[in-house]
């Protein structure tokens, strides 16, 4: 027995997904490290709301666990830990960009258009809800990648990575839900990844006196 969502449930799900995407854009717009982390926390909270709403709409209680994981791990623990790191390393000032704020926003919109163009032909038979949330989730993923490409600093690259992962979760809850085991293992691997990143931050800074990854490129011989 499948449950058919009502029209307004469509709309609310759609709205929350769009909010996640908006916070993705806010990540690109921010110029200060701590604002970036705050936007990231808000994105995770919006993601938790999206998962909880999908749990309600699809009558799938295990998605509430997904929502709780997103809220606690990505909405609280990861941003607080990164914030602590940023303050500890004394890099809470400006975000250094490889591409300016304006151009990266424009590229972001182009990526959203691209993901819509990609998703529409592939999902011809799916319901409008699935298709739209898939398009939105794909945009969030691409924005995360864009964030990783256009920011020099290691911390912002990690935030981009986590935002990308938010997009994956968003895609997963929009489709008929993925098993909870997968969910939990992803959440923990993200947490472990964050700890590893933290260690790497200290290592990188010890070696190069900076978290700017351009120095790594010089070191590898990528740049002269």
């Amino acid at each position: 027995m499948t449950y058919e969502p009502l029209a307004y449930e469509f709309d609310v799900a759609h709205m929350i997904d769009a909010m996640v995407l908006m916070f993705g854009f806010q990540l690109l717009y921010q110029r200060r490290m701590q604002s970036v982390l705050r936007s990231f926390a808000l994105q995770a909270v919006a993601l938790a709301a999206a998962a909880a709403w999908q749990a309600h709409v699809q009558r799938a209680p295990h998605l509430y666990a997904t929502a709780a994981i997103a809220l606690v791990f990505k909405g609280m623990i990861v941003p607080f830990a990164l914030n602590w790191l940023v303050v500890k390393l004394g890099i809470h000032r400006n975000v250094e960009t490889a591409l300016g704020i304006g151009p990266s926003m424009i590229v972001g919109v182009a990526l959203v258009a691209l993901s819509i163009l990609l998703v529409l032909p592939v999902t011809g038979k799916a319901t409008a809800l699935t298709r739209e949330s898939l398009a939105l989730a794909m945009s969030v993923i691409l924005l995360g990648m864009l964030m990783m490409i256009t920011r020099h600093n290691a911390v912002t690259q990690v935030v981009g990575f986590m935002a990308l992962e938010n997009g994956l979760i968003l895609a997963a809850v929009g489709a008929k839900g993925m098993p909870l085991v997968v969910e939990i293992s992803i959440a923990f691997s993200v947490l472990v990844a964050m700890i590893l990143f933290g260690i790497f931050f200290f290592q990188i800074r010890e070696r190069f006196d900076s978290l700017d990854l351009r120095y790594l490129e010089y070191y590898r011989g990528d740049r002269q």
Binding site: Y8, D11, H14, Y29, G102, M105, V109, V112, E132, A135
Partner: protein, 315 residues
């Protein structure tokens, strides 16, 4: 026949109410900042005082300088007259759409900028150049928002879009939400509110609108100030008529509905005035060169709104 009466009443209401709305915003801001603040009727007294005073015009000013205040006020007032506030049964409503509204406001801005440069002082020039920079980004955003709404509703007239929303045409929709966000950002920029411009500053480095009208005095200044107040109310009415049109009497409804519509309109405007004050108090003014990012964001949001229409339409 009744359409003409409503039209006249609406036009008078727009001018009569505008200073009160500005007064409410100022009072709410003062209270939020821990000051007692002036009475909400203070803008009326200010305008009256300015009207009593002699208008002083610089020696180097041309005829344009004298004509500009009247043109600015008339263009803004005409713009305000075509946006339905409490009834859409008005003479000008079928003739007017959002594009015409943008043009009216564009005319007003054009003459403000010309008048700013006319006397030849440095401040007027800097104000005009900044105003044009803001306008060159705000107008495309506003037009883009208009296009996405008209794709949804099938019309560019605010009354038509409002009627479409009332009929349940637009429910909670991502495109409409993005368009609203974009319109709010444009409204903040166009009215020179924080974080784009500070309406109560006379600090040289930051002022935009105040710099252009620095040379004006007396009745000219009163007209320009009044035009600014009408513009604020115009944007509030526009937002209410498109995104919260509940209570606006439609042409086929009895005239009593216009009275309840008027009461609801007053409630909506007061709510928006308080919301504006809260927003302005909770945010810091940004540097002039960040305004480009802010309005670029508004433009991109409007663009996204248009893109998302195609996702939901292409079933």
């Amino acid at each position: 026949m009744s359409a003409i009466v409503w039209q006249l009443l609406h036009a008078l209401l727009m001018v009569g109410l505008a200073p009160l709305v500005t007064g409410i915003v100022r009072l709410a801001k003062s209270r939020l900042q821990g000051r007692r603040g002036p009475s909400p009727l203070q803008p009326y007294r200010d305008l009256y005082r300015l009207l009593q005073k002699e208008a002083i015009v610089a020696d180097s000013a041309s005829w344009l300088f004298r004509v500009a205040p009247y043109l600015i006020f008339t263009a803004t007032w005409t713009g305000a007259a075509i946006v339905p506030a409490f009834t859409s049964d008005m003479t000008l409503v079928p003739a007017a759409d959002l594009i015409a509204l943008v043009a009216m406001l564009g005319v007003a801005r054009f003459f403000t900028a010309l008048a700013g440069m006319d006397v030849g002082t440095a401040f007027g020039g800097i104000g005009s150049s900044r105003e044009m920079m803001i306008a060159s980004l705000a107008e495309p955003a506003m037009l883009m928002m208009t296009f996405s709404l008209s794709l949804l509703a099938g019309t560019t007239a605010p009354a038509g879009i409002g009627a479409f929303v009332l009929k349940g045409g637009i429910h909670l929709d991502v495109s409409a939400g993005l368009a609203l966000l974009s319109l709010l950002m444009v409204a903040i920029a166009e009215n020179g509110r924080i974080p784009v411009d500070n309406p109560s500053t006379h600090l040289e480095l930051t002022m935009v609108h105040e710099a252009m009208v620095l040379e004006y005095s007396g009745r000219h200044l009163a007209l320009i100030e009044a035009a600014g107040m009408v513009r604020l109310l115009l944007y509030m009415t526009l937002i209410a008529s498109i995104f919260a049109p509940w209570g606006i009497a439609q042409p086929d409804e009895p005239a009593v509905f216009a009275v309840t519509g008027l009461l609801l309109f007053l409630v909506k405007v007061v709510l928006m005035a308080v919301a504006l004050a809260v927003f302005e108090t909770s945010i810091a003014k940004m540097r002039v060169f960040r305004v480009a990012d802010f309005l670029g964001g508004a433009l991109l949001l409007a663009l996204l709104a248009t893109i998302f229409i195609y996702v939901s339409e292409a079933v």
